[in-house]
Structures are given as structure tokens and as C-alpha cells.
């Protein structure tokens, strides 16, 4: 997912009301009125949240006169999951490098490939 789209997705997910709306939509399509029901919020306020979600590609709305059904778009959410995996890999790399640096600092032999996989045995 390109950076702007992902950034929009994170901004959209940053709000707890919007996350709650998505959680409801994850169970199936809903109309705007049905979505607004659990919130102590005006219909225009809910619609505003829905527009943010729609612009981020997280939901689509159909304009069917009174009903206006909404559905979740799972592919966008998968982009968030992919990003999380990348972020975890980044942390693993940092910690590997921290270990190497500690060895260098103490004048130990920098680990050769074999020693490194030995050290990995200790990792959960």
C-alpha cells in the first residue's frame, strides 16, 4: 500500500468511534441509521465519520435513496496488517544490531554467521 493511502488509513483508524463502526461492519453490511443507533451522536456526525472511512477506502457506501447501506473493504485493513509485520521485522533487525554492537563494544569477536545462528537459539 502506498504511503499516502496507508497514512489515510491510520488516520481513519485513530478514532475509537470509527473503529467501532468498522467492527460492526465486519459482521456484515449495515445502513447508516443502523450504524448510528448505538452512538449518542447525531446522524450528520456519524455521516462525517463514514466519509472519513470511505475516503480512506475502508468502507464503501451505496446511495440507495433512504437505505444507504455500507460495507467494509477488507483489503485496506490487510494493508495495516502488512505494515505491522514490516514494523516488527524492523524491530528484530534493531535488536540484532544491538547485540552485534554490544559485542564490538566489549572487544569480542564480531559474530560470524555460525555464531549468530547459535545466538538465535536463545531467542523466543
Amino acid at each position: 500500500m502506498e504511503m499516502d493511502a496507508l497514512s489515510n488509513t491510520f488516520a481513519a483508524l485513530a478514532d475509537p468511534t470509527r473503529r467501532a463502526i468498522l467492527a460492526r461492519l465486519a459482521q456484515g453490511e449495515c445502513t447508516v441509521n443502523e450504524l448510528a443507533a448505538p452512538f449518542d451522536m447525531s446522524l450528520p456526525a456519524v455521516s462525517k465519520h463514514l466519509r472519513v472511512l470511505e475516503r480512506a477506502g475502508l468502507i464503501t457506501q451505496r446511495r440507495e435513496a433512504q437505505r444507504r447501506p455500507c460495507r467494509i473493504e477488507a483489503a485496506q485493513i490487510k494493508g495495516v496488517v502488512d505494515w505491522a509485520e514490516h514494523y516488527r521485522a524492523l524491530w528484530e533487525q534493531r535488536l540484532d544490531r544491538l547485540g552485534d554492537y554490544l559485542d564490538e563494544l566489549q572487544g569480542n569477536q564480531p559474530p560470524i554467521k555460525k555464531a549468530k545462528s547459535h545466538a538465535r537459539k536463545y531467542r523466543k
Partner: protein, 143 residues
């Protein structure tokens, strides 16, 4: 994430919290990588900021210290400047094991609800998300 470092705990804590050390391992991923900015205000509520230069540009991370208990605990927030809405909390515990140090690092960010949604979405709408892969991934990012 855990590691067993061949170093005493006080040294590990120092290496994790002093800029002159941090810039030598954070983002040091080989040729073309450097850390031109590495600022740390080491106190509860103090801010930190690192800029990683890599072959294709620069990325900035910043955050704030929440807890500092030298030499055993360090908790801070981490924000990737491109996504300021995503605030991770990084919690590090250092435990002595003989003359070595066990690091237990827990990175959490507000994905609990996203995860629940993704899992249910994956199952309800057949988005093709692998439940096992997701659970494994998210076990690493414990809440």
C-alpha cells in the same frame, strides 16, 4: 521479542539510552545507513528523536519516555513521523542471567480492535487473510 546479550545489564541499559551508543545500532543496517540525528532527553516525560538516513532518503522516529528504572526497565512511546496517528509503546525489561543480560522487549500499538476486526472480516468475508499468520504476528505485538 527476547534476546540474550553477552554483556552486563548496566552496559546494555547504557547502550539503549545514551545517544552516542544508540546511533551506532539503531538503524545501522549497513552501507548507506546512518543516524544523523539522535537526541535523547532521558527522564520521564522527556522526548527523543532519531533520524535514520538510508540509501533512498530519511525516516524520522520520535517519542517520549514513560518509565525509567535503570538498569532494569525502560518504557517509551515511538511514533514513525510518516504515520503520526500510530503511537507504539515499547517496553524493555532487562534481567541479569549470570554475566549476561536477557532483554524482553514488548512493542504494542493500538491494533487490538483492528486485529479483532481483521480476524472476523477474514472469516466472514473470505478476504483470504491467514488466521494463523495473523495470530503469530500479533503475538509478537502483545498488548
Amino acid at each position: 521479542m527476547t534476546r540474550l546479550f553477552n554483556a552486563p545489564r548496566a552496559l546494555v541499559y547504557e547502550v539503549m539510552t545514551k545517544p552516542e551508543h544508540v546511533r551506532r545500532w539503531w538503524g545501522q543496517l549497513g552501507e548507506g545507513y546512518s543516524v544523523p540525528v539522535c537526541e535523547i532527553d532521558l527522564r520521564v516525560g522527556g522526548k527523543w528523536k532519531f533520524v535514520n538516513r538510508h540509501p533512498k532518503g530519511e525516516v524520522t522516529f520520535y517519542g517520549e519516555y514513560r518509565e525509567l528504572v535503570p538498569p532494569s526497565r525502560c518504557v517509551f512511546t515511538e511514533i514513525f513521523a510518516d504515520f503520526p496517528d500510530v503511537v507504539s509503546i515499547v517496553s524493555s525489561e532487562l534481567i541479569e542471567e549470570g554475566d549476561k543480560t536477557r532483554l524482553i522487549a514488548t512493542v504494542t500499538y493500538p491494533t487490538q480492535q483492528v486485529r479483532d476486526m481483521v480476524v472476523s472480516t477474514g472469516m466472514e468475508h473470505g478476504a483470504g487473510l491467514s488466521y494463523d499468520r495473523l495470530e503469530d504476528l500479533l503475538a509478537q505485538l502483545q498488548r
